[in-house]
Point group: none
Chain length 204, copies 4
DNA sequence: CTCTAAACGAGACGGTACGTCTGGTCTTATG
DNA sequence: CATAAGACCAGACGTACCGTCTCGTTTAGAG
């Protein structure tokens, strides 16, 4: 049997997402309320709550909708080069869109007092980006550029950890220089490890 | 001229800080309110607002008061060893005190929608910890273990970045294993850099 | 266009008015708070503020709701008799309901530091009672019992003025004796005036 | 034995009374607070509370201090003339001083939720004025202009009742016209009573 | 072409916490 | 002792949001 009743309004959905993003970028995430989104979107409050559990979820979806498939997955043959390009691309996304950084910070904050949203946030934003970086390093592993015993997750954590730490605390900048430094640091560590292991194996 | 008027009550100050910390650890930061702190501390609400701008500021001070001089600054002669001991000590603080991690996460969240509190938070919590790690690495620099051109701040960001990233997202654990991995990674990178630079100099 | 949105809850409205009146009579107007009314009425505080500007307005409406059509408008053919019955009836209302006098005093007090409420208070309580007394005296005027040049408003002011003055200052009692005295005084003055005027006219 | 300790400061007392009156007339009674009086008078809050139980008491004293012996007690040989002059004089006091009416209304309001202040208010303001009017009518009684059985208090209540009623509700004006009307009404009633009684006695 | 059912805009609802304000008391040092 | 200063406890105030609910209306497929 087909779906009964009035179908979900795509117009309302779009209006909500656009209004949420617009308000959040104009006035800051903290100042928007579900009420305001509803009024400005010309939508009933219930229509928001029917489809999203919180304003954070709305903003997250708006962000995701807005930022689809922007991340390059480079494959230049060298881990360091791949890392640098990937990280530059990642850092650029925020830099080119004013207000995006504030939204990311606000969503991370929201995730701290809403376990359910944390899951959502990880699934939609954190984990996909991790996956890209992870695969990028694994590729270097199959090339033997990185030793098979290396903890890929740690390297991923280093890259995103520094980014988020600087984003959240305001300590340091997030720019191409950082991308280069991180690429060098991680590639150095990974390749250095591989060499040491190789040396050990040779001697053995 | 001497201070005029009734002096600030040390008893009330202590009571407020202790009550705030106790409630926050027992029930979670999100569930405490300024009202409840006031009532349970036997204090007027105004007495809280007279000295702190928000409950976040109260909890921050309570945390700081409570955690004075807990961080070991090891000096074992080797960067990697120093790093490992320091990071283990840092990670232990939270692990040994249930509820502390939640408070740290809540405060970091609070800092995201309160610029004033962010400054306070950095000055009281983030920066002091950075300073210790920073000095620890600088010491290795004076020992020539780390090259003088190394970006010490980046290393600090890596250590705390990974810690906070895992704390906030729930990705990965924060334990002695991590301390060891980070110490190895950072020392490897720093020492590797020093050796390469030395090699360049020799060849030159 | 029809009414949009959820309609006002008559249940809440009644509950608020009843609770306000009950609390005010039990504990005195000064001791009730908007918070307590809300809690005891099982209602959100905002629901009170949405419909009334202050607790005084709530109590006023509660009083009015509760005291509808209690005032007798006698028509015995003689001004003095009508006055006496009307005033007795008016004075009785308060005397038979403990707490009402305190409420009236409190509302009159409230009206002194809230211009908006003073208007409301006059429109709902003062003026309707004036109108009855006014019409009663006018009827005597059409009967030629009172001269047409008499200032009816002054007579009304005398009756209610004495009542309120005694109520507010505690000087003297407000009972059937007073009703008789006022009736005699006013009727005497009004009829006396009519006779003098008639005499003048005759002589002319 | 002489009084020990530091004597009460007359400067502070004057400053408090003047400041209270000034603030009350400038901004309205409702807007002044004990705190504000203290600050503006350059006085400690406790100094106010040591000598007065409430801001109403301060304002009452300030008013009384300021308005000493302003009431004429006329003696023109005729009740109606005496009444008219007295009432005109009484009504003039308020009319010539802007803000006084508002203060009187505020004090009457205050007296409604403070039993202690009501006593104070009656003793200092209400009763003295009553006494003057009372004596004025009694004088007419000794002249046989008013019958000895007349209820003098009722006449007093009528005069002040109408005045206060109009003051508090804003119904009608308080001017020389009213003074004349009240004088005529009361004298008419009192003298009419005397004549009727005399007639009865003669016939008897 | 009616009927059923769900989504819709609107906005009132019960709740909770906020940060401010005032009242009246207490605690200093000073005169 | 009284004083100026000002911190203290207490608690009401009116506002802001939250997430739910209750209207009448709209929009689809089912009968």
């Amino acid at each position: 049997m087909a779906v009964r009743g009035r179908p979900r309004s795509e117009i309302s959905r779009r209006s909500i997402l656009e209004t949420a993003l617009r308000l959040a970028r104009k006035q800051g995430y903290a100042r928007i309320t579900v009420d305001r989104i509803a009024v400005e979107a010309g939508v009933g409050k219930q229509t928001i709550y029917r489809w999203w559990p919180s304003k954070a979820a709305v903003v997250l979806e708006a962000l995701r909708e807005n930022a689809r498939a922007e991340i390059k997955v480079p494959d230049l043959g060298s881990l360091q080069a791949d890392l640098e390009v990937f990280l530059q691309s990642t850092f650029d996304v925020s830099r080119n869109r004013p207000g995006i950084n504030d939204l990311l910070r606000a969503l991370m904050a929201e995730a701290q007092h809403d376990r359910g949203f944390l899951q959502n946030f990880r699934r939609e934003l954190i984990d996909p980006r991790r996956a890209v970086l992870h695969s990028l390093i694994e590729r270097a592993q199959t090339r033997k550029e990185v030793h098979k015993s290396a903890d890929v997750n740690l390297y991923v954590d280093v890259a995103f950890g520094v980014m988020w730490y600087r984003l959240l605390t305001g300590v340091g900048t997030i720019d191409n220089g950082l991308a280069g430094q991180l690429a060098e640091l991680l590639a150095g560590a990974a390749v250095g490890l591989a060499k040491r292991k190789a040396g050990i194996n040779q001697r053995a």
